[in-house]
């Protein structure tokens, strides 16, 4: 190596810069791809795995109905969870000790017990409350009201609300108090400051997590099969109980879950970009695959 003082570039000549090679990266990639290839080969040639059965069931009406129920339940439960989360998240930050304690109790109870237990609890509510009577709203036997869908909605929604309230509380607390003060000093009410200043900034922190929660909920709803709600997983289960093509039908369900969660990811990308207004560097590194999917989608929309 030349000493710095004798650097040949001093004369004003410039040189081409040659980047370092990374041979081990290529080796590692080759190894991983080989293993993947072998697995794919094995799956394609597996004895007793009938891809034709997968193809047959992939686009049947009964599977679509199951998928639709999964999406409905996911949407409704997330909506209920979000509403409860906002209410209890704000309550938790309240200066009123009763309100904040009640919010704490809610989170403690519903985050501290298994979701499957909560589902069974709602589903079997008729055992302790055979009749529900709220003057002017409902007056009927619990068995009639508490359908599998409603039990699943309450179970997932209320459970999600407990997690969501913590997410929203964290988001609200992540906005510096100076933001509220600046708004107040301009003559704003607390409600205006929260709605126009704090929430939009909190959303930037909250939204990726809500996206993850939604993806989680999409898959979690499969547990509703255990309280007789025939969503996507429950439907495939019913089919393979009768025809014994277990793996094939699980692959069918898996394919639709993957497609649905991929579409949700794309939606999340756009939402995050929208609330990222004013903040240049938005968020996390995406994998090569995520980048490909999103770029492909953007191109497709452009065309």
């Amino acid at each position: 190596m030349l000493p710095l003082t004798q650097s040949p570039a001093v004369g004003g000549t410039t040189y081409e810069i040659v980047r370092r090679k990374h041979p081990w990266r290529i080796v590692a990639a080759a190894v991983v791809l080989t293993i993947l290839g072998l697995l794919a080969f094995g799956a394609a040639n597996a004895q007793g795995l009938h891809w034709s059965v997968v193809g047959h069931y992939l686009f049947t009406r009964v599977i679509f109905t199951g998928l639709l129920r999964t999406l409905e339940l996911t949407g409704a439960a997330m909506l209920l969870g979000l509403c409860l989360g906002v209410i209890f998240g704000i309550m938790r930050l309240s200066h009123n000790p009763v309100l904040s304690s009640v919010a704490w109790l809610y989170v403690w109870a519903f985050r501290g017990t298994p979701i499957i237990l909560q589902l069974f609890l709602w589903f079997n509510l008729a055992l302790v409350f055979p009749h529900i009577h709220v003057p002017g709203i409902v007056d009927a036997s619990t068995v009639k009201i508490m359908t599998p869908f409603l039990a699943a909605l309450l179970g997932f929604g209320i459970n999600e609300g407990a997690y969501m309230s913590e997410i929203i509380r964290g988001g609200l607390m992540s906005v510096p108090p100076g933001q509220t003060e600046a708004a107040l000093s301009l003559g704003a009410s607390r409600a205006w400051a929260t709605r126009r200043v704090v929430l939009p900034q909190a959303l930037r922190v909250i939204l990726p997590t809500i996206g993850n929660e939604t993806l989680g909920m999409l898959k979690l709803t499969s547990l509703a099969a255990f309280i007789a709600f025939n969503e996507l997983f429950g439907t495939t289960e019913t089919i393979y109980y009768s025809n014994s093509q277990v793996i094939e039908l699980l692959i069918v369900a898996g394919a639709w879950y993957l497609l649905a969660s991929s579409i949700l990811s794309i939606g999340q990308y756009y939402l995050e970009r929208k609330v990222g207004r004013g903040f240049q560097r938005g968020g996390r590194n995406r994998t090569l695959f995520e980048q490909l999917v999103i770029r492909g989608w953007v191109k497709l929309r452009g065309a």
């Binding site: 600046a182 000093s185 301009l186 704003a188 126009r196 004013g278």
Partner: protein, 268 residues
């Protein structure tokens, strides 16, 4: 050039008091931060408040626009008692709706700017008058652009705060405060969070405002600015105003030993 307004402006009789503090006390828990502060600031006067940290300077400013309630005494801005209403010999805390209106009397500039990061520069300046004072948008926009020109940021209207330097952000914050047409501007250590090379541009804007006759209360550590811009300087120690008077007198011939000691430290 040192500007000496003290002789002809600050103590001109007949100018009304814009801010009056009488026996103002404030505690946070067991810590008493203000211990009976008395203060009058007249129209068009520039008052700089100096003193060590923890003396209660910022708290006093925050009490003047009721970001903090007070425990004793009263504060008037433009003749109105801030945050409270005198009824039956007692001061009753006012509803939020009235306090909101009173806060419009003061324009506050914070140490950490506190611009809204999700709004553009222009939106930051316009949001108060348009959404909170319900003024027509067109009128406010031309006024807001005017103030942004005044602070030298006419070309940054579409930028977001994160794209600006600290000095530029603080100048936007000053424009935002001005757009509310306040009776008094409150500056809470406006240059303390800035990089040294941009302190000057903010002080220059503040000096210009002082010279055009705006009423200003400036909590600062910039003794040079106080000497140049202030009509009067107050020293706060331990929750009280230890010394107050014309800038020249206080800064050059302080009568309090503590003031002299503080100045000796700051001016090193």
């Amino acid at each position: 050039m040192a500007l000496d307004f003290s002789a002809d402006r600050a103590f001109a009789e007949g100018r009304p008091d814009v801010v009056e503090c009488h026996g103002v006390s404030k505690s946070f828990g067991n810590v008493q931060v203000l211990r009976g502060v008395d203060l009058q600031v007249r129209e068009s006067e520039v008052l700089c408040i100096l003193g060590p940290s923890g003396a209660g300077k910022s708290t006093l400013l925050r009490c003047i626009n009721h970001l903090e309630g007070i425990d004793d005494g009263w504060i008037k801005v433009a003749g109105q008692i801030i945050g409270y209403e005198l009824r039956g010999g007692k001061l009753h805390e006012l509803p939020e709706r009235v306090i909101r209106h009173q806060r419009g009397l003061c324009g506050m500039v914070f140490q950490h700017f506190n611009l809204f990061p999700h709004f553009t520069v222009l939106e930051n300046v316009m949001v108060g008058p348009v959404e909170l004072q319900k003024e027509p948008k067109g009128q406010v926009e031309s006024r807001a652009r005017g103030f942004l020109d005044r602070v030298g940021l006419g070309d940054k209207v579409a930028a977001y705060p994160a794209q600006l330097s600290g000095g530029q952000q603080q100048r936007v914050a000053i424009a935002r405060a001005l757009a509310m047409n306040p009776r008094v501007l409150l500056f809470d250590e406006p240059t303390s969070a800035l990089d040294p090379e941009v302190v000057g541009e903010v002080l220059a804007v503040m000096l210009e405002l002082a010279q055009e006759g705006r009423t200003m209360i400036v909590v600062t550590h910039e003794v040079g600015f106080a000497r140049e811009a202030a009509d009067r300087v107050a020293f706060m120690f331990n929750g009280k105003i230890a010394e107050i008077g014309p800038a020249k007198n206080v800064l050059e011939k302080p009568s309090e030993a503590r003031t002299a000691e503080f100045l000796a430290h700051v001016l090193v």
